[in-house]
Symmetry: C2
Subunit: 151 residues, 2 copies
């Protein structure tokens, strides 16, 4: 079964990335597109190593250096977001076409769920005003444990 919505998103995102690279005079290498596509086929919150391993075991061979470079590039053009869920390890997820959301993390089993709350935006606006800051982004993580047992 083919997920046509996903295929459309991927097509759109690849195009958007291509435009960005063109605009900023950076090269359209196959590695960059392959990494972006791989990221959009995932639904989890992965780390750089997991992405690297997954690409290696798939059709594609890339180096760790390129994975890290491309992740940074994708974060900078808002196609991917970067998180840290309590540890020193950076985690990533696709960003395009997703509404703003935050995360709730089980410190027991590591499960990560997403939630939305409009009050965050209110807090950002109010605090920007109050502290004389241009607030550009935020990160909100709730930590706890699943009530109905972990997987």
């Amino acid at each position: 079964m083919v997920d046509t919505a996903l295929e459309d998103t991927i097509k759109e995102v690849l195009q958007q990335f291509s435009n960005h690279l063109e605009k900023t005079n950076q090269r359209k290498t196959p590695e960059r597109f392959a990494i972006l596509e791989e990221i959009y086929r995932r639904t989890d919150h992965f780390d750089a190593e997991a992405l690297y391993i997954h690409m290696k075991t798939q059709s594609y061979r890339v180096s760790r250096a390129t994975v890290y470079n491309t992740l940074e590039l994708l974060v900078s053009c808002n196609l991917v977001t970067r998180h840290q869920f309590g540890s020193n390890l950076a985690r990533y997820e696709r960003a395009h076409g997703r509404r703003q959301h935050d995360h709730i993390i089980c410190t027991n089993c590591g499960k990560v769920l997403e939630f939305c709350d409009p009050r965050i935006q209110q807090i950002k606006d109010m605090m920007g005003e109050l502290m004389n800051f241009n607030v550009e982004s935020h990160s909100l993580n709730l930590y706890g444990t699943c009530k109905d047992g972990c997987e």
Copy 2:
């Protein structure tokens, strides 16, 4: 000039730590108390290395291992809190006698300010309910830039 409120806090916190160590059958070493006191004399959001360096240049000699061990111990008994402000570097601050607060970070100059907002607690309560989680803690960071120029 002596800050008597600070001295009182330190006395109280050292006592509390002492009680905790006793209760959990851990040893009251001079290094542990020296590190705790040093932390409570700081007002910033420091990393382990800065604390280590500061202790070395002061009267006290401790090893990095002991600094890391003690920080973990202090976090676990809620006398110190651990943060990550966007990077992979852990930052710490004293926790006792401070009301719950979150952070707003300037991505330009690194300045860290604190703020309180009651809506966070509401969000934690509501999401715990909604997602069937026991929410134990959270971390909210706002990122942006100072409007009136950085230091």
